[in-house]
Amino acid sequence: MKNKSRREFLKLVGVTGAGLLTGAATASGSEGLHVNNEEIGMLYDATKCVGCKACMAACKRVNGDYGSLSYEKAKFDPDGLWDAPTDLSGSTRTLIKLFKESESRWSYVKYSCMHCQKPSCVSVCPVSAMTKDKVSGVVDYNKNTCIGCRYCQVACAFNIPKFQWEKSIPQIVKCDLCKNTNLREKGISACAEVCPVGAIKFGKRKDLLQEAKTRLRENPDKYIAHVYGEHEAGGTNHLYLASMPFNKLGLPDIKPQAPAEFSEKIQHTIYKGFIAPVALYSTLCFIAVKNMKKHDKTDDHDKRKHDGEER
């Protein structure tokens, strides 16, 4: 008897576990996602960038007018005259940093949302506040839907979405490729529009990729032979060229498989068509009702005996 129930118990654990196990198994055998090269994006060439930060200023201007960004105060500037952010934040969507290895070897780098082909932030947002435009591929944020759970921050491998920690009515802040501002009005992102040296090229992913490869071919000694974003995290629409290893510039080494693909596959296997939960529920109901009946019978019996004694 004892052994039997033990076996039953293990079986139960097995049943609940089996669905999850198959999930883990299929998830490892991913086929890779289909990359849409018609989407729009930007190509940032770090070797051309002169660090003037015109893109940062333009980004703040258009988005400030739009009402979604405030200016940042530099720590050394009590009067608040100088907007000098040191990192992306709840009021800065893009940032130019300088990486200096030695006096002769240095590089600028621009940070902003990578507009992933398969964005983790969209995959995890529980209320669809992060969305990816089907045609343009722009990853946009809607503060009127967002619940502020910050799961998008946890999920993004590039650490891009930022949260307004100091506000009582906070929101998530990240580049939206000027979707609602400059892109709508002028058909080009503000940062790309103002760049004086053409370090930011705006266009369709396929053209940008081609352009990047041409540059690599024509100047092999100038660049690291790699287009950052071509395959990282399943491919991004924001592409990079640079003369220094990308991880030194603060761009993380990321495998070609999109993290969202891995997690969604497991999640889908468990919840496919809601079959597993419904099956689990009905099986458990069946067992429990049967057990109740069995128990009630013996219990009634006990009770009668018990009542008899009392009387």
């Binding site: 576990g17 506000k167 993380p252 993290p259 919840y271």
Partner: protein, 438 residues
């Protein structure tokens, strides 16, 4: 389920000294909650863009709900494995779950940056089935409702039998005029009682379907709590990032659930001076090692499979936390393999505590300690953050202590104790002690 004499109220004063101490802690916590709403989350917490989730999510939600899985684990035992002899434990387990989940929900509302938008969870066009968090949120909300329904019989019993003296007295104490005149009130209360008496048998008939729902929902969302971190493949340390996260979280909450049911019973028996429920606890304790063995083997098997055994034994920061978690669970359940230990309240307490700690540390490892967003980010909870969490835990204990005195929750010692329980060492239930306003 219809065995209401299985349970009894705990007689005793509600407003004890510990009540006021707990109340004070709760108020401190709520003060900081107030600050958070006025000045923003950044003003009270050390969370950052690198560590967007702090102890509110890690402890209150991810760990707290596992600790609140006593109701879940005991329900599996009673209704699915058909071990009705554990039935007496279930109400207090459900009560703990109710508070645990309710307050996890509360701390989510503290943690969310834009809680006023939470209604989007109920708008189908906003649903995002890819999100593990969406699944967690819906299941947790549903489960909290189910827990309340599961607890209803205890409340209905009280309504049916109560004389409402206390409420009447409180009214009189506040102001004589507020208190309705006795006859009028008795009439009206009669209706409430009749209603309760009408509802109870009907509820009892369908209750089993809610109970089973109360087993299905935690199975779903506890595994999804593990799924939440699946996507953080670049941030979570490989010791913990695996496709088995959902399965590991599911098994983890089952053994935490049994261990916490043991702890809770021992602690409440000790502090309310009731006889220990050794029979039931020994049985529960016998189950734990079987569950933990599965968990430990999945952990090891998976590490070997992914070639991470080296990382586990490296004895650096991460491996240290991994080994601590692993050994706490391992040693805790080894103790329970011995039949003798399973009958000793002391060993039961020690091993159950180790298992709860180890199981909880696992969740901390996944959510915080093994989480590394990159260079330059650091997180350690701020004082205010900790106080909010402590306040919430205090509210849980407070609520539990009050509820067991108002509603029949604890096993009826006279019925289940049997003669061997009253061995003279434990005082019989303090009968006739003062109750507020009686």
């Amino acid at each position: 389920m219809g065995h209401n004499d299985e349970y009894q109220k705990l007689e005793g004063k509600i407003f004890t000294k510990s009540f006021f101490i707990l109340l004070f802690v709760v108020l401190v916590g709520f003060f900081f909650v107030g600050v958070r709403y006025v000045k923003g989350i950044g003003a009270v917490s050390n969370m950052s863009d690198g560590y967007p989730w702090g102890i509110w999510i890690t402890y209150d939600v991810a760990t707290g709900t596992a600790i609140a899985c006593g109701g879940y684990a005991v329900a599996i035992l009673v209704y699915i494995r058909n071990r009705m002899q554990y039935h007496p434990l279930i109400r207090s387990a459900i009560l703990t779950s109710m508070f645990g989940y309710g307050l996890a929900g509360f701390s989510v509302m503290v943690d969310l940056g834009r809680p006023w938008n939470a209604y989007n969870f109920f708008i189908p066009s906003k649903w995002q089935a890819n999100s593990a968090m969406f699944e967690v949120a819906l299941c947790v909300m549903a489960y909290s409702t189910v827990l309340i329904i599961e607890f209803l019989p205890a409340i209905l019993t009280t309504i049916e039998t109560t004389k409402w003296e206390r409420i009447h007295k409180i009214g009189e104490w506040l102001h004589p005029r507020i208190a309705p005149d006795a006859q009028n009130m008795a009439n009206r209360l009669e209706w409430v009682k009749v209603g309760a008496a009408w509802l109870k048998p009907r509820l009892n008939k369908v209750l089993i379907f809610f109970i089973v729902l109360g087993i299905t929902l935690p199975t779903m969302h506890q595994s999804s709590l593990g799924s939440l971190l699946l996507i953080a493949s670049t941030k979570l340390h490989p010791l913990w990032h695996t496709g088995f996260l959902p399965l590991l979280f599911l098994i983890n909450c089952v053994f935490i659930g049994y261990a916490i049911a043991i702890l809770e019973s021992i602690i409440s028996c000790y502090s309310f001076k009731r006889p220990f429920e050794v029979e039931e606890l020994a049985g529960l304790a016998g189950l734990i090692p079987w569950v933990t063995v599965i968990w430990l083997s999945v952990v090891v098997g998976d590490l070997v499979n992914r070639g991470q055994m080296g990382a586990a034994l490296k004895l650096d920061f991460y491996s240290g936390f991994f080994l601590t978690e692993f050994l706490l669970v391992g040693i805790g359940s080894t103790i329970l393999f011995s039949r003798k230990n399973r009958r000793s309240p002391r060993w039961l307490f020690v091993s159950a505590a180790m298992i709860v700690l180890g199981g909880a540390l696992y969740r901390f490892n996944v959510y915080l300690i093994g989480f590394n967003p990159g260079k330059g980010w650091r997180y350690f909870p701020s004082f205010a953050e900790i106080m909010i969490t402590v306040g919430i835990v205090a509210l849980e204990i407070l609520g539990y202590k009050v509820f067991v005195k108002i509603f029949p929750v604890l096993p009826n010692a006279a019925k289940h104790g049997g003669p061997n329980r009253h061995d003279g060492k434990t005082a019989p239930i303090a009968a006739g002690s003062m109750e507020f306003g009686k």
